[in-house]
């Protein structure tokens, strides 16, 4: 069982690595195309800004590599957003794996306390696929994001903030979560275990 974390210019890679270690998994952090392609499972993490991250991936040809992976792939936070078609963050064309589009949170109703970015613990519901095996409906996960993927045909978990949106997406072998499983206490650890066991 080989597990690869894609190395690129967008934060939180150490956190994902340590979370895997806590559940007894070793992972390789690499941008080596062959290592990525031959891994059993690939994690595509990310904290940062969409256009900078996409430019970095394109320069290195990693955009095509990720899109064509056949094994289970888990995008986290920005990683998930980059797997969508387009992000409003600096009008960025993304990988186009999920048809869902990424939009900016805009709170039109004043005074209800919805800050942007959303920072903190929120529920995930309408949970689908083995990624959420043994995770109860409305479990809490940790979110930090100013942009969101709209609900769509690939939504496998939803969350409410300003409006309902996709907190997880899945198409074929590709999975994406908007929250940070590596920072979501025992719920997050179970979700990572589930991904490993897919």
């Amino acid at each position: 069982m080989s597990l690869v974390i894609i190395k690129y210019n967008a934060g939180n890679i150490q956190s994902v690595l340590y979370a895997l270690e806590r559940i007894g998994m070793q992972a390789i952090v690499t941008d080596n195309v062959q290592q990525i392609q031959s891994a059993n499972k690939v994690i595509f993490p990310g904290v940062g800004e969409a256009s900078t991250a996409m430019a970095y991936l394109k320069e290195r040809g990693l955009d095509a590599v990720i899109k064509n992976l056949q094994q289970p792939v888990l995008g986290i936070c920005l990683g998930m957003q980059l797997m969508c078609t387009h992000s409003e963050e600096n009008d960025t064309d993304c990988l186009g794996i999920f048809e869902e589009r990424v939009k900016k949170f805009i709170d039109n109703s004043s005074g209800n306390g919805n800050k942007v970015p959303q920072i903190g613990w929120n529920n995930i519901y309408n949970l689908k696929t083995g990624l959420f095996k043994d995770i109860p409906e409305n479990a809490y996960c940790y979110f930090v994001h100013g942009y969101y993927a709209a609900l769509g045909q690939h939504t496998i978990a939803a969350t409410d903030y300003i409006q309902p949106y996709s907190s997880a997406l899945q198409k074929d072998n590709f999975y994406g979560v908007q929250f940070h499983p590596e920072k979501s206490a025992t719920v997050g650890e179970q979700i990572i275990k589930n991904f490993i066991e897919l």
């Binding site: 934060g11 939180n12 150490q14 956190s15 340590y18 979370a19 270690e21 806590r22 904290v47 940062g48 800004e49 005074g111 306390g113 919805n114 800050k115 942007v116 970015p117 959303q118 920072i119 903190g120 613990w121 929120n122 529920n123 809490y140 940790y142 979110f143 930090v144 409410d160 903030y161 940070h180 590596e182 920072k183 979501s184 206490a185 025992t186 997050g188 650890e189």
Partner: protein, 251 residues
């Protein structure tokens, strides 16, 4: 629904947790990693580690500690204390910190907030403000752990910091800190309602009702406390059950 966050704060000196009472009688309270893990298991939503070590060895010991914390803690954590450059932050984030908190260094060099937000994203830049209400009824910014007064009003500095890219404000009222008489509701509410970013209220939490008040009346997004948790005056699971009973969304 996005929940209100409860954040225990751990003061660190030379790699150990310390419990200080009015800066006197600082006692060793054990391994910060173990204590942090205990709070995480009890349902703390985040942790703040504040390094009060004053030696030249500080940078190395802090990054080693952050690395240990990151290996063992499965919730987000913020590190603060004497951070004054992009390089400082880079080392801490590489060692696994989720956020860093800056205070005096940012006030003296506001460009630092912009540089950090640009390089690492606003989500990891927490601006800590120590503030005190003066006789004129206004809240002013204090620096150097509350020892140095400035002529800048808290609200003005907070607004400027958010414009520069601060992602959260950690607001400590010096009037309330250590009193256990409740959080400073007026300035917390003013910041919460004015700023587009979350406000973490700190200083004065002594009873569970104080937490309710700071969330409902002052609209704080999170509340931070230290001694009431360290001295087991309030247990986090009890506090969360109480808040839930008061119709406040908590995890």
């Amino acid at each position: 629904m996005l929940t209100k966050r409860i954040i225990p704060c751990l003061d660190i000196k030379d790699g150990r947790t310390v419990k200080g009472i009015n800066f006197e009688n600082i006692r060793d309270a054990g391994d910060p990693v173990e204590l942090g893990a205990l709070y995480a298991a009890q349902g703390a939503d985040e942790l703040v580690f504040l390094d009060i070590t004053a030696t030249v060895e500080k940078r190395k010991t802090l990054s080693e500690l952050v690395n240990k914390i990151a290996h063992q803690i499965n919730i987000p954590f913020t590190v603060g204390g004497g951070i004054s450059s992009v390089e400082d932050v880079s080392v801490l984030l590489q060692n696994g910190a989720d956020k860093i908190s800056i205070n005096t260094s940012a006030f003296k060099n506001p460009q630092l907030i912009h540089d950090l937000a640009k390089q690492f994203g606003s989500q990891c830049v927490v601006l800590a403000i120590d503030t005190k209400k003066e006789a004129d009824g206004e809240w002013y910014v204090y620096l150097n752990g509350g020892r140095t007064k400035t002529a800048t009003k808290c609200i003005d500095w907070a607004k400027q910091a958010v414009e520069l890219g601060a992602g959260e404000i950690l607001l400590t009222s010096m009037n309330n800190d250590g009193t256990k008489q409740g959080f400073a509701l007026d300035i917390t509410q003013q910041l919460s309602e004015t700023l587009a970013v979350p406000v973490i209220a700190s200083g004065g939490g002594g009873t569970m009702e104080h937490f309710k008040d700071v969330f409902t009346q002052a609209k704080a997004d999170a509340a931070l406390a230290a001694s009431i948790f360290h001295f087991k005056e309030i247990a986090i699971p009890d506090l969360k059950r109480y808040l839930q009973g008061q119709q406040i969304a908590v995890r």
